[in-house]
Symmetry: D2
Subunit: 289 residues, 4 copies
């Protein structure tokens, strides 16, 4: 089973009272599924998964799956700090129709997250999880990083079939590609380097900006797949400013604002996230493709 | 209400099946309460709070409170990533008998945790929480830090009465003391600098090593309070090696091992935390006071 | 005047007494100039420029120039901490035949190196320097980085015609390309990302590994220029392990060892650099292309 | 020979043409020597040593020594990136009357500055240097740090008799005190923690703020030596804001401005350092003791 392609890590919609709005989520998903996106990543970082409780998380997964055709891939973020909670969340996601889980490194106890600890954590998970496990490296948030040695070891597990690298460090991504079998799929999670990542072997991309510019992101992927590197490089340049606005600059509130400006459901992020500042609206509007 | 004094941030005991062992917790607390410790901090970083679910957290609080005399202070860690979950956990802790809550900075969305966001988060919490709120700065884990400007502003709230600084940076701790009223209590959370922290105005300390060396930690506090600086400095030197072993070097697994070697309930930490390596036992045994 | 192409930042040879060995340098240069390398970078980081005095630096430049055909480009590293010393060194390099100078950010007074300070430094230099100035960003060494805003501003100066980016961060390199005119040449200084860097618009590369694998590095450049991306990606994968050994892993001592194993003059680095450890020889020998 | 006491790391005065002004330096030194300062540190970080050439450095040392009584200590910063240049500078300083040299860690080749490399560097220096060597740890500038293991080893050399720790990390400073013999003198280089540093065993302090508030800094030292901890803590609080303005906030330009406001020679710093911004004058004037 291959997951090649482009995915949006979708935000979680809330209603006016601040509760999960499954209807809005479903309508957004329906619309995304009319594009060339390969599927959906639910409950990722951009899904404010860290701000949801377990019941809300399950509701999101069910709402997303219900709005997706069967042949599209649903990948669910199920990383928790404890191994047992991660396993439990992964099983629930699989039971709700996820085809894979995307699991960030535990990081609260940073100094104890040795190679041995990470290998034990992911091995226990992969043994127990009914669907494939994708590793999720996001050092900017967690303060720790997979190494090629760890990834190479984990890639030997038959139920660990890929990973997401969320950083601008293409050397690291290329090493993960290099030390793993050709069917181990490395996804890029940092939009401003999506083209170079795919040029050095990434199997696709999971990008916040794919929520608001799905067609352009799919076109970028298709250009590289077809060897049209000049077009890919040019499209990358056009995508980068928007990508930066909806991630590093304005975060999830910026992403939700961009969705509203694009006709999707957006809405407020959950506190402690604050609304994007007033100037964000014009900047994002100007950057939309 | 003053919280001056020394507290152990107690570990959470698990039984052989990996479930919370409230009996063992109660027995440990009973023993700690025979010392000069001012009270207990439950569900802090050392309490593996990040690895517990909400029901387990509540069970720990109840077990601790039940084993404590009424005149001892129970401070409960209730930080969550979302403001609403933090408020909910704080209310439950207060209902279970906590005299204060200790609330770490949300940090998953680091780049969005501006001064405004942190002030809004803690203000909403302090407004809603029935007991005093203590701020908790632990930059080594969260990757973000309070600044004097933020702390100064939050200290104006009548229900934010103190904080814990967990770092070796005495300049920062001294600034927090300096920019807040004299009844705002700053606690030191980094044992190797507990003496200098109290010398520059800390109101006490919350120290992993106080679990295994409660009398020595209380003596350190008493020395400073009485102006016996030479004795304080000498005792600090004796405490530091043990403190480093049960925190930076071997983490919670090392702390639990040290408890066992001291006749308390220790036991395993919850995965992904691995058992301390074999050599830890001798090193810790040699460092016990 | 364009500097497009591939350059080795050559090491500085020392004799048995630890003095600069201009004969060995000249012989190495002669040999490099038989390949497709566009020219030479002398007195860069790999040239141990930080370990040379001013007279030695001048001697190196003269020795290199004397061994180069007139139509090959000589770029000389002339960054110093003070603006006036940087200007003086740049003028001397130009007088000795350098076609450009490559000038790293001053960084001793990190917290004072604001955008204004950097712009003033490079503007004063570019005004005074008889040859084009290339900016040199190496955040891993200096702890500071150019930003797109600074580079965009400096690129307006007619005598600042390009830059070198030494990091694995392709987002940043791509932004430097994006915010500057098309004739502003951005060179990649991090070999493991040389291919993706050129794919997103780098005008060439200045690579330690080009000292020991000049033909492969030139071929990599040619592949990208001709649109042969698959070959470029494949060659990149072969080059990366060697590149890592002669930079991050074993540093300048490893680079000199690799030169010896390739029939060039190598020799010892200057203390405090220590000889590469014994195991380095076999690892490097195995990685040579 | 003990160096206990308080020292100002003096700035280097420049004349209107930007050249070293030895007369101004001498007049400043004469005035400092009327206070209780134990001596002078010349050519430290605050002396803009990184911006001077070798001849200028020698001129500064000679000017300082000439203005000092014989019984005051002259410590000269002689760190260079290469071991041989460091040795040469140290010998020249000793020949000009320095009683000790203060030598920062080489740091350009960070990843190669292993424990072995640092031990070899300082051992070679201590063997060759006619006066005692003081180690200088300033991780905020160099990006590397001594460890207790390295310092413990180097302290065995009879000609390495002390060190300066420039950071707010009191745990590290206390460890350096703890792992070295009682006659190995650890100096604090971070004014906002000078009192706690001396409380845990520092033998004195080398502080930028001692240039502008020498009497207060000496009083702080005397308070601790006499066991007057309350007075020390109170004086520390008064000193900290000024200390921050002349270091982290406005750097050497701020320090020189503060000197002018105090009746000393100040003047401009050397580019790339820019003049302090306009608002600095009022802020510093308000903070002067």
């Amino acid at each position: 089973m291959s997951f090649r392609g482009v995915y949006p890590p979708i935000p979680t919609s809330f209603d006016a009272a601040g509760n999960v709005d499954t209807r809005a989520i479903g309508e957004n998903v329906t619309r995304w599924m009319r594009t060339g996106l390969r599927g959906i990543v639910a409950l990722g970082s951009n899904g404010e998964a860290a701000l949801l409780d377990e019941d809300e998380s399950d509701a999101v997964v069910n709402a997303v799956r219900a709005a997706m055709p069967d042949d599209r891939m649903l990948i669910v973020g199920t990383g928790r700090e404890s191994t047992r909670a991660t396993i439990a969340a992964s099983r629930r996601a699989a039971a709700s129709g996820a085809q894979a889980v995307l699991v960030r490194t535990p990081s609260f106890f940073k100094s104890q997250m040795t190679a041995d600890a990470l290998i034990a954590h992911y091995t226990a998970l992969a043994d127990a999880c009914p669907v494939p496990v994708l590793l999720y490296n996001l050092p900017g948030v967690t303060g720790i990083s997979f190494t090629p040695v760890i990834v190479s070891k984990l890639a030997e597990h038959p139920n660990i079939t890929g990973m997401k690298e969320t950083s601008p460090d293409i050397e690291r991504l290329a090493q993960f590609v290099s030390v793993t079998p050709s069917d181990f799929e490395v996804f890029c999670g940092w939009a401003p380097v999506a083209y170079p990542a795919m040029a050095v072997g990434a199997a696709g991309a999971i990008l916040a900006v794919a929520n608001v510019a799905p067609d352009a992101c799919v076109a970028l992927f298709d250009h590289v797949a077809a060897g049209r590197h000049q077009q890919a490089a040019a499209l990358q340049q056009r995508l980068t400013p928007l990508a930066q606005l909806v991630t590093a600059t304005y975060g999830v509130p910026g992403l939700k604002l961009a969705l509203e400006l694009s006709g999707y459901h957006g809405g407020a992020a959950r506190p402690p996230l604050l609304p994007a500042p007033a100037k964000a609206r014009d900047e994002i509007a100007a950057a939309l493709l």
